[in-house]
Amino acid sequence: MAILSIRDKLAILSDAAKYDASCASSGAEKRDSRKTGGIGSTEGMGICHSYAPDGRCISLLKVLLTNFCIYDCSYCINRSSSNVKRARFSVDEIVSLTMSFYKRNYIEGLFLSSGVIRAPDETMAEMVEVARRLRVDEKFGGYIHLKTIPECSQDLIDQAGLYADRLSINVELPTDDSVQRLAPQKRPETIRQSMAKLRLRMEEKSEPTIQTKRKQRFAPGGQSTQMIIGADTATDDTILRTSARLYGSYQLRRVYYSAFSPIPDSSAALPLIKPPLMREHRLYQADWLMRFYGFEQKEILQASPNGMLDLSLDPKLAWALANRSTFPVNVNTASREILLRVPGLGTKAVSRILQTRRHQTLRLDDVARLCGSIAKVRPFIVTADWSPGGTLDSERLREKLTPAPKQLWLF
């Protein structure tokens, strides 16, 4: 095999990493390089340093240690039966690449994942070594996200938690049956137990120890996961149910939805489709409703006969149209919980309404200045000088509020 340059390896191993949607660099504890004289800081909110034309942010150097893999998951570009070019970084190479990118302010840190070579522990040990080298030898204070290999030993997980800000394990697909069908060597029960172990460790380490009275460090940015959507037949309802279960069970910071995307040298086991980007977008919106808007998972799709989110309407508007008896809502008296249900009012707008109405009665103009689009909000609210009257019951309301279909990109 020809010897690959760093550039060749970077091309192969970043191409191999791009199907992982996670990019967040938030949630780390505050770190500042002034104390260490090193390089790197984290201040809670992560920064997106660039954007690719696929609309995704580039915050971290997202690469694989290697794309050699003994697993044969049909949706994955790195599966063992794929004819994709293979490469492997040395620990040194990743460390120096990370430092060199970070010093030029290209990135917030490193997101390291890997194909599994030989044994899970061997692969995980190398990933942990990269993190250790960065933290200890390079005094690196930036963000580190390690993808955890479910079958690896607890000792390696503990070390990973010591150096990394976030750990994640991918559930891969919305149901265990799909995992068994498309990723026959992966074991969903092991994945769950690994997430449970991470939660347990995070809870244990969040208590100060008796001896030092200090908390031991363990992945302060928490854990996250990803599932691929559109590669199996799971409905949106099934997907959201899985998400709700994951959030409740393992204290995840985020569930990422990744629209199944065609890959070079794809497997015959999967349909060749355009990635369902709008569906992915609607799932994120629904996810937000569960996490920030007080919606129960069951409510979101209660009006949908086929368990699928409406692609032409955002899920909150769809819910409101199906539950018109809840409206109109008086913005001068309604509770936060109810205001959060009004289409077009975000969490910030609701807070501003609550704050302002303590001092003065709100009129429609006032609300218009506090929200993005009054046209969307108007049919659902009552103000001092406005009531939607019959429009709320109008059969044409849905039509009026459905955005005109946009010209899609030719494919």
Partner: protein
């Protein structure tokens, strides 16, 4: 409000020393407001600082919310020349209406918030889009902010890049960090930074390859990375070609027929995935409690496995005299994979210990082995298993009983009683009783310890706890009686 004498009606002119001369603005605005000057009559200009005012400074006090000071320090960085007048107007209005900033729909407040947001965004984008180029060990960047944010923003770069020596150049100001001290200098131009950098080629390689041509979303990209920043971003030069080539690249992936498996695939399969196939143990063939536990791990006798993390099987002495049977694992049991380790488990442990029962000499299990719950945000709300689930799981309990062969079973709560007796009983009525099953097993009936935790009133809770302790003392007596009687028999 008294009218100003006609002499002063001509515009007041205030000179500020620079675009972000906050102290100068603050001093002037304070004096003008105290003198009752209409903010509309003030002309704010940049240049040399004011010559010392010959007139004595007006005396008096101005009070503003603390928030206003922070807000005005941010807004003064905005490039809008009207910012000084707007801040002055709001300062004046605040004297009559101290709650003004809380009225988010007020026009002046809306404009202030917009400006604040715009400055914050510019600060954020500077942190994101500054690109250093290396000259030996020295790093230099050129950036064009939309507002006057350099002074306000450079501390971020100090916190982040303490261990480097660097300079950030902008059209109106430059900032330099030598490893110890931050200094500001005059503005510069784009040509003052080196034209090349050794790592830039790698960065472009990364940018090209992390992009997925099958998901083109140009608008989403531009919303976050507006074109005005592109000229100073090395990777932006690649964008037009990436967009132009995306369709072909994606179509190519769709068109390409799946190929034959890679040559090494067979080797990998042979080496890693051909298990010495012993096959799963037949459910009827479990020869020991350990076998049974292994079998239970993959149980799908009812749908509860779908949401739970794992099967929580019984634990304890394999030939214990007494077997405690609870309802089902809870949140913490589901995570740990062990029965009775959560809050109810702690009540259970404390109580049996007080009653003199050694948990390690007992066997502890549940009627249902998977956690049934409804997710609610970050929590899981326990759900009572239904009769079908209890029946399905009874298979495991029966087999645990047949391996452990306890002489006494303790049913903790109604679900355990249902599973052990095959019929539902009203626990509160029969608690403390011993029922003998047809197979001779004696079953002691009591409440589930979680019942105690659900009682809101502390006094009642304490009372229920003592009743539970009484029950456990009875169990202890029963165990003692079995011990003295049966040991002789054995």
């Amino acid at each position: 409000m008294s009218l100003q004498p006609a002499l002063f009606l001509s515009a007041h002119r205030v000179r500020l020393s620079g675009p972000v001369d906050f102290d100068g603005w603050r001093r002037a605005a304070r004096n003008l407001t105290l003198s009752g000057v209409d903010p509309a009559d003030v002309d704010w200009v940049l240049g040399e600082a004011n010559p010392p005012d010959p007139a004595p400074e007006p005396t008096g006090e101005l009070r503003v919310p603390r928030e206003f000071i922070e807000l005005s320090q941010t807004v003064i960085c905005h490039s809008d020349p009207e910012r000084f007048a707007l801040l002055h107007r709001v300062l004046t209005r605040l004297q009559k209406k101290p709650e003004l900033l809380r009225i988010a729909s007020d026009k002046d407040v809306v404009r202030l918030r917009e400006m604040e947001k715009s400055v914050r965004r510019d600060i954020h984008k500077m942190r994101a889009f500054v690109r250093f180029r290396a000259v030996g060990d020295y790093f230099v960047a050129w950036f064009e902010p939309a507002h006057f944010i350099v002074e306000r923003n450079t501390n971020f770069f100090v916190r982040r890049f303490s261990g480097m020596n660097w300079t950030i150049l902008t059209p109106y100001r430059s900032a330099t960090w030598d490893g110890k001290e931050l200094t500001f200098g005059p503005g510069a131009c784009a040509d003052d930074v080196p034209a090349e950098d050794a790592a830039e080629d790698l960065w472009l390689t990364y940018y090209k390859n992390i992009f997925n041509p099958a998901r083109l979303k140009v608008k989403a990209m531009q919303a976050e990375m507006p074109k005005k920043y592109w000229r100073n971003l090395p990777e932006a030069a690649l964008i037009p070609d990436l967009i132009a080539g995306a369709e072909d690249a994606a179509r190519e992936m769709l068109r390409n027929m799946p190929t034959l498996p890679a040559p090494h695939h067979k080797t990998v399969q042979a080496r890693h995935w051909t298990k010495p196939e012993g096959g799963p143990i037949n459910t009827e063939e479990a020869a020991s409690l350990a076998d049974l536990r292994e079998l239970a791990a993959t149980c799908r006798r009812c749908p509860l496995w779908q949401d739970a993390t794992q099967t929580v099987f019984g634990e304890g002495l394999p030939n214990a005299t007494v077997m405690f049977v609870g309802e089902q694992p809870g949140d913490q049991e589901d995570i740990a994979g062990k029965p009775f380790v959560g809050p109810a488990g702690r009540v259970f442990d404390e109580t049996i210990q007080e009653a003199g029962i050694d948990r390690s000499l007992t066997y502890v299990t549940n009627a249902v082995k998977h956690f049934k719950f409804e997710p609610r945000g970050k929590r899981r709300i326990h759900q009572k298993p239904n009769a079908g689930e209890v029946t399905a799981c009874r298979w495991w309990l029966d087999h645990e009983l047949s391996f452990v062969k306890p002489q006494l079973a303790v049913a903790l709560g109604a679900t355990a009683a249902l599973s052990l007796l095959g019929q539902s009983v009203a626990i509160t009525k029969v608690r403390g009783q011993v029922v003998q099953r047809e197979d001779g097993l004696r079953v002691f009936l009591t409440i589930h310890p979680s019942f105690i935790l659900r009682i809101p009133d502390p006094a009642n809770q304490q009372a229920e706890r003592s009743r539970f302790l009484d029950d456990m003392r009875k169990v202890k007596e029963l165990i003692a009686a079995i011990g003295s009687g049966s040991r002789a028999d054995r």
